[in-house]
Symmetry: D2
Subunit: 148 residues, 4 copies
């Protein structure tokens, strides 16, 4: 089963700040650090739809990264505020894809996509339950009041 | 010159969330991740006193970690909100010390201290300027409106 | 100028071990950790051709990541030995591309490619010098005797 | 029960290289990265005594960090080779302590100690088995032939 998420519903934006530890000796954000931003934004995306990924993980549902692509257009630097725009673009029975744009002061500096598979505690692929699918197709309805 | 910061002025609290990448296969927050929380809290502590550590770094002033101690009383877990209580407890001419308590839901789970030296771009120790000292002795007067 | 590296010359293999810190609460290697393996393998690839990337960095030549793609076929786990097979597949005047396969016990578990741009200390793109190009087109001729 | 390990038997040295990702915008190794070196050296220390920490972890025996102290005397830099000298200095019924010196070209640049508790999969402290104690009190007798 392959659902096409409604683009207007499927998007959320998460603001993050670049930490000192994320920088490298070039003075810029290390390319690997962006994947931690995308991951934090995914967790926030779910929270804005009423789901807590930590609860899912405790119940044995994991979203494991299976494929990524990222283009680094402009470097981010220490202490900058980044807006991570996260959009669910594909929802299959046991996998999904998020597309990302990272903006700094309104300018796109990074574009990426990440595919994830639903797996259980033993790493076996499993279909999403209806409850999980409902979260994925929901629109943002929770405004985070705490740090993401 | 050795100033004793006023304890009431010298304390700020920063709320952070444990990220997925911070966990390890024991299912808890990796011990090394706490140092990134303490670091982010230091940057926030300065911002609450009107200083931007990134500006200092760009001007060639760095605060390099020279000694740390940490006791892990209870493990933190993915997605938990942590309050990092940061207190400047020593201010010397070219070095300083912060004491930390990390609380989860009001309970102390981690205690640490970090000593830092003021260095320039070449790594030479240098005295703090009066402007920098003034920031260190200021009380918190900026409420952060953005992610830390 | 666009050189097609000789495939036989352009490949090196680097063996690494998964560290505890690289794991996450799923019990597997975090997807972001692979980029640090690919990076370490690039540094090793250069060393095997007589170049020390650290020297280049000190001289103001950096290879900045501008695009990546990675497919995670099978998870790696703590303490496993991984063979990172690194092949230079594109060499342009100011950029290059490495293709990677990560093998565990002879089985491919991860496939990736990384594009890098040559930049200077200010982040400006610059052409590779002839000396740098010569390294890129050299075959492996140094056997590492130290950890990579 | 509190055993005093024989100092001559209790020491091993592990050589590591500083990776690019370990650096920060000061151009030096980030203070947090050292804890990953100490951890990798502990795993190597055990392997040199015939034990595989990964096997222990799979069997539900974990060594969780409960306290650390570290003094940073001289910064390490990208690509440098570091010798991590690891000594078991305390062995109690359910905890142990390692003392560390990190040397670069024979010069001590970092001194640290780390206390660990033996815990099970649920995080409960548990006594070391005789088999585990025997490993801890053994002298180094395996020469690693693979990357650590």
């Amino acid at each position: 089963m392959h659902a096409a998420p409604n683009p207007a519903d499927a998007r959320s934006t998460t603001r993050l700040r670049v930490r000192f530890v994320d920088t490298d000796l070039m003075g810029i954000t290390h390319h690997g650090a962006y994947f931690t931003y995308l991951e934090a934004a995914r967790v926030d995306w779910l929270r804005r739809r009423g789901a807590t990924y930590a609860d899912w993980a405790n119940q044995g549902l994991h979203l494991a990264v299976i494929e990524v692509h990222a283009a680094y257009n402009h470097p981010a630097r220490f202490d900058e505020l980044l807006d991570i725009e996260t959009t669910l673009t594909e929802l299959r029975s046991a996998s999904l894809r998020f597309d990302y744009r990272i903006l700094r002061a309104g300018k796109v500096i990074h574009v990426a996509w990440v595919k994830l598979a639903c797996i259980d505690d033993e790493g076996r692929v499993r279909r999403m339950s209806d409850a999980v699918r409902a979260v994925m197709l929901a629109k943002e309805h929770v405004q985070p009041s705490e740090p993401i």
